[in-house]
Symmetry: C2
Subunit: 138 residues, 2 copies
Amino acid sequence: MAYIKDMESAFEIIAEPNRRAILSLLVSSEQSVGEIERRLHMTQPMVSKHLRVLRETGFVESTVDAQRRLYRLKPERFQEVDTWLEQFRRFWSEHVDALERHLGRMESSKPTTQATRTKKKGKRLRGPNRERDRGETK
Amino acid sequence: MAYIKDMESAFEIIAEPNRRAILSLLVSSEQSVGEIERRLHMTQPMVSKHLRVLRETGFVESTVDAQRRLYRLKPERFQEVDTWLEQFRRFWSEHVDALERHLGRMESSKPTTQATRTKKKGKRLRGPNRERDRGETK
DNA sequence: TATAAATATGCCTTGACACGTATATACGTG
DNA sequence: CACGTATATACGTGTCAAGGCATATTTATA
C-alpha cells in the first residue's frame, strides 16, 4: 500500500526491468496476469504488483474478464519519455558528423580529445599529461 | 566505490532526477563540475558522484582543463533508450484513431471499455457490473 | 454453497542508492 | 613549495522499493 511515494517520473517506472518486460509484452496485445506470469517467469504476486504500479502511473489499463484482468498499454506516459528524449535527439543529430570526425581521430592518436581543445586562456598543461583516466572504467 | 552494481540499463541511470537535470544542462554545451554545481544547486560531491555514474555508463565523457573537468554528452546510450521506445511508438501510432474513438466513447457512457470487449467465450458478466475500480487510485 | 481458479494485498526482509560531511588528490600561482 | 581552487573519493546513514510468502478477494462451476 505504501506503493509509489516517489516514482512520479515515468523514468523511475520504466527503470525496473520486469516492468519494461511487461510493457514490451503488452505491445503485441492485451494479456492477463496469468499469461504475463507464465511468459516472463515471474511469480504471480510480483506480476500483480508491477501491474498495479503501471496501472496507477498510467502506463497500462485493465479490464475485467471473468476472474481475469486483461491489461493493455496506454500511450501517454511513453510520449512523456519520448518528449524528454527530444532535446538529445536534436543534440546528437546536430553533432553526428562532428562525432564521426572525433571517433576517426580517436583511433589514430591516443592523446584523447585533449588535443582538440586549444582555446581557454591558453593555460595548457605542460608535459606528457596522460589524462590518467582513473574514472573511465567499465 | 560500490557504485553501480546493478544499473546496467540506461533506464536506471536516467531514473535519477538530478542526473536527468545534468544531462539536460549538458545539451547546450559542455560544462565544468563547478558550473553544474551552481546552476543546479547541488553539492559538489553530489555532482561529482552523478557525473561519475554518467561517465562510467557512457552518457557523458570528460576532458581535463587545468584543474577543471569539462563534461559533455555522448549520444550512444540515449539512442539505446530511443530504440526501446520504438516498439511503443509503433504501437501508439497504430492506435491513435482507435484511442480517440475510445476516449470519445468514454465520456458518453460510463460502462468503461468493458462494452468494447464482446468476444472471448461469450462468458460475459451478468448485471450492472460496475468494475469497482479499486486500484485506479493515483 | 463448497471448491477451485485467478488475481490482489499485506507483511517482512534485504539491498541498493542518494545524500551529507569530511578528506584526499590534482593543478596552478605567488 | 605553501596555499587556494577544483574535483574526486571514503564512510556513515536513512529511505524506499523489489521480492518472497501467506492470505484475502472475487468469480465460475460443480
